[in-house]
């Protein structure tokens, strides 16, 4: 039974856009734009949301961004004159449930495409089913699994860069500005291993050296005993700790080094939805972070970032406008906004009419290349690789200055590029 709510409604319009925007546009919902459509049946996009489970914090922000993006799309007349309807199902951040949810999208809700998955293991568990169902599956996951060739031609990641590219693009700045002798501290599982492997390769290509690789067991909650393993000649400590122990990690690292510390470089993944000014994080002052999208509005903030924040409901510190303590997952959620705009562009390019055109839609997206920074792409310009189904984009390196993340360097799209590992376009539908 189809239960998705239509997106032209007072609630989402108020949630997604300022009421003034809607009034100023002068367009009444349901009129002009849709009346002229060949079919005004909605385009149904299945949103595979982490509503419960370990991804729930991201699920909430992905939902808010999705709602805002769709409100804007519908405000502009929808896709091919048809309104967009989001059908949300909870995958519980569970791979098996994710596959079941895709099945519901395809067979029960009659969705045109599915989108929105973040956690890698859920993408990997769900994507095969998308392939079997011939359901285009646009993931927003950062995982390298799409470009690695592990998945299938129906799975694409056009709206967010992957971790291999992110890590690679950090190496030039780190090597040139922070130091060439790096100690890496990472959790001892896939996430940490990817950082270890990708960054080692990249920094060595810059003439640098990883002098120590400190793998921390995932169940660890106290880290002091590992720090004596940091070699004396370390110029940069590269850390990607995640989970409940992160605040303890930073505090103990600060206690270990005291005032004389090497340069420190981390990934904002460690602190998504956590305020940089939280007690215990004082040691981060003066340290550097990769940011997928700068959480704190910068001095040279674009009009696109400004309008995007307003639409989604976050303030200039990246927190909810309803509660300044409610920090968003700003480095990731833009992926939903941009992916939905790419789906729109793909459907319009393919003159998508219905599920029979799914292959055409994928081919249309595969044909996309450069996407300039715009209201559709507020995070920055993108270059999509149709063969690997993975997008490449700019990456931000920020420094914590007086409790604010200030962008020091924007790595170019080229900085993050790597050799193709697959060509999905040679696979049949």
């Amino acid at each position: 039974m189809s239960n998705g709510k239509t997106q032209i409604n007072r609630r989402t319009a108020l949630k997604g856009l300022g009421a003034g925007t809607l009034a100023a546009s002068g367009v009444l919902p349901g009129s002009l734009g849709f009346a002229q459509a060949q079919s005004s049946a909605p385009i149904k996009i299945g949103f595979q949301k982490h509503a419960t489970g370990i991804g729930a914090a991201y699920g909430r922000w992905y939902d808010a961004t999705t709602t805002a993006a769709v409100a804007r799309i519908n405000d502009m007349g929808g896709i091919n004159g048809r309104p967009v309807e989001i059908v949300t199902e909870d995958d519980g951040t569970d791979p098996k449930r994710g596959a079941e949810v895709l099945e519901k999208f395809a067979t029960q809700h009659n969705c045109d495409v599915a989108f929105g998955t973040l956690f890698s293991h859920v993408v990997i568990g769900s994507a095969p089913r998308a392939g079997e169902l011939k359901l285009p599956y646009f993931v927003v996951s950062e995982g390298h699994h799409v470009a690695s060739g592990m998945l299938n031609r129906y799975t694409l990641q056009p709206g967010i860069t992957d971790v291999k590219s992110q890590v690679k693009s950090m190496a030039p700045f780190v090597g040139d500005n922070l130091g060439k002798k790096v100690t890496m501290i990472y959790p001892d599982f896939a996430f940490g291993h990817d950082h270890r492997d990708f960054f080692s390769e990249a920094i060595e290509a810059q003439g640098g050296e990883v002098v120590a690789k400190i793998a921390i067991p995932p169940t660890e909650t106290s880290f002091t005993r590992y720090f004596p393993n940091i070699p004396r000649e370390t110029e940069v400590v590269y850390h990607v700790m995640v989970g409940p122990g992160v605040l303890t990690f930073v505090k103990e690292l600060g206690e270990f080094f005291g005032p004389s510390r090497p340069e420190i470089f981390g990934f904002i993944d460690s602190l998504e939805a956590v305020s940089i000014n939280s007690p215990g994080l004082e040691f981060l002052e003066g340290t550097y972070f990769w940011e997928g999208n700068p959480r704190h509005a910068q001095a040279n903030q674009t009009e696109f970032d400004k309008a995007y924040r307003e639409a989604v409901g976050v303030d200039e510190m990246g927190a909810s406008t309803a509660d300044a303590k409610d920090v968003s997952t700003y480095a990731h959620m833009f992926g939903c906004w941009e992916t939905l705009n790419i789906i729109k562009a793909g459907m319009e390019s393919a003159d998508y009419q219905g599920p029979g055109d799914r292959a055409k839609l994928i081919e249309a997206v595969e044909a996309m290349t450069d996407m300039p920074e715009s209201m559709d792409h507020p995070q920055g310009p993108k270059r999509f690789n149709g063969k690997t189904h993975q997008t490449f984009g700019v990456q931000y390196i920020s420094k914590v200055e007086n409790g604010k993340l200030v962008v020091q360097h924007t790595a170019s799209i080229e900085d993050g590029m790597y050799e193709d590992e697959v060509d999905y376009t040679t696979q049949s539908f």
């Binding site: 709510k5 909430r60 519980g92 569970d94 989970g243 939280s278 215990g280 409610d326």
Partner: protein, 467 residues
């Protein structure tokens, strides 16, 4: 089988790069920064001190503490309760319909939001602290008054006691803890409606009263938890210290005694199976939890094991006390069954305290979703009372100060419930013993159990969670 699936799941995970940090990691991060060990020691010493203190007090102080006062007014509102149950039935069936036909997102659908947040968390606590709300809102009293008019054709054997309810309650806990998607609206609607029909059928065949006392597990549950309330209005209105009415309910029959333990064991396992410790035992990386589908069997087996373990440990602690009294005491020896069935009542406050503290954070987040969904019950895009325009926040989990207050509130509930339990157990012991020394002997095992359970409860609150 479960080990194989965990391993295959892990091997898939090893091939990928994982996702970012965990939900509510900030809250847990702040908890890890708190001096929880010091708090735990303080809490445990409080419970230990209460055990020591109560032995030094003259027994009539406890007697007076638990003696209720009669209130001037009584209530005889049986007819009204049946009527309000019709309203409860209507709301329940409306929620079932919303589960089938409403929003697919469980965070927007009033069925999972009401059942899991308003009913399972809030009503449970209200039932144990404030009023017998279940009598008013349960979806059976009303319809059963129509369906179960004549003498019922079947008769439930007395000797079954409430064992069917114990079994059904454990199955319910399996659903909460192990089912792959207990919040999925249509799935939950099917289970809830199915149970409602099953219960109505049972009430028609066996009599509403009988079925409600022996089989319908929530009626049994809420009746037991409800004995803890300070104020009781039915028949003769009385008010007293929390637990006074529970004390006058004893001894229970063995099925009710075990039910008390099952409530606590299931709630404790609910907390335990999310911890790093448990996940490590299963060989699961807590930073990369593979999802509920990967742990269905471990969760089920663990739940049943936890229940068996607590019953066994409690029985052993009672047995030690009974043997100590027989060997070293002067009071008449106490049959083990009578002791078990009496002292099980003292588990009830701990069960309620655990329930409150375990679900407090979840409630604070989910109640916001409930309010928003109330503003748009059918997901049609309306906003009643402006509620649907509210925005959920977890900012209070992001701030060290508020996290501390929340944690201390949870810890207080655990400690206070244990202290009340100590007082109740001592009061019950005084009925069997002639001297303070005999009371000490009889409770020696139970006292140790209570201290360890305090430590366990506070450890659970402070332990990092991965699921």
């Amino acid at each position: 089988m479960c080990r194989a699936s965990v391993l295959s799941g892990l091997s898939i995970l090893l091939m990928c790069s994982a996702g970012p940090a965990l939900a509510h990691a900030a809250e847990q991060g702040f908890v890890l920064l708190l001096p929880t060990q010091a708090y735990a020691i303080g809490g445990t010493m409080t419970v230990a001190a209460s055990i020591v203190l109560v032995t030094c007090l003259p027994i009539d102080i406890l007697e007076r503490f638990f003696r209720p006062v009669t209130l001037p007014h009584t209530l005889a509102l049986r007819g009204v309760a049946a009527g309000s149950s019709w309203v409860g039935t209507g709301v329940f069936l409306g929620l079932i319909w919303i589960g089938w036909a409403g929003p697919t997102d469980p965070q927007e659908n009033l069925l999972p939001l009401t059942l899991w947040t308003v009913w399972w968390i809030a009503l449970f606590v209200v039932q144990g602290l404030v009023m017998d709300i279940w009598r008013w809102v349960n979806p059976w009293t009303g319809p059963a008054s129509l369906l179960a008019r004549r003498a019922p054709p079947l008769r439930l054997p007395e000797r079954w006691q409430a064992w069917p309810a114990v079994l059904i309650f454990v199955l319910f806990q399996c659903f909460i803890l192990a089912d792959i998607a207990p919040s999925d609206p249509p799935r939950l609607a099917a289970f809830a409606f199915g149970y409602w029909v099953f219960t109505l059928a049972g009430m028609s065949l066996c009599g509403a009263d009988r079925w409600g006392r022996q089989v319908e597990c929530f009626t049994v549950l809420f009746q037991l938890i409800g004995t803890l309330r300070p104020v009781h209005l039915w028949h003769r209105a009385k008010a007293g210290a929390p637990g006074w009415f529970s004390l006058s309910s004893g001894p229970l029959d063995s099925s009710h005694a075990v039910f008390c333990l099952v409530i606590l064991a299931s709630g404790s396992f609910d907390g335990l199976h999310e911890t790093f410790w448990w996940l490590a035992k299963l060989g699961i990386n807590p930073l990369e939890f593979p999802g509920r589908s990967a742990v269905i069997w471990p969760s089920t087996i663990g739940l049943i094991g936890a229940n068996l373990a607590l019953v066994a440990v409690f029985a052993f602690s009672i047995w030690i006390g009974v043997r100590a009294l027989a060997a070293l005491g002067k009071s008449p020896p106490l049959p083990f069954g009578l002791a078990f069935n009496t002292f099980a009542i003292s588990i009830l406050p701990i069960a309620l305290g655990y329930h409150f503290s375990h679900y407090l954070v979840s409630f604070m987040v989910q109640i916001q979703y409930v309010l928003i969904a109330l503003g748009d019950p059918l997901g049609r895009g309306v906003t009643l009372f402006g509620l649907a325009d509210l925005r959920v926040t977890t900012g209070f989990l992001n701030t060290a100060d508020t996290v501390k207050v929340i944690w201390l509130t949870q810890a207080f509930a655990v400690v206070f419930s244990h202290v009340l339990s100590v007082l109740m157990a001592h009061h019950m012991a005084s009925k069997f013993c002639r001297s303070n020394k005999d009371m000490l002997l009889l409770q020696v095992g139970l006292s140790v159990l209570m201290i360890f359970y305090t430590i366990f409860g506070l450890w659970l609150l402070a332990a990092p969670r991965g699921a």
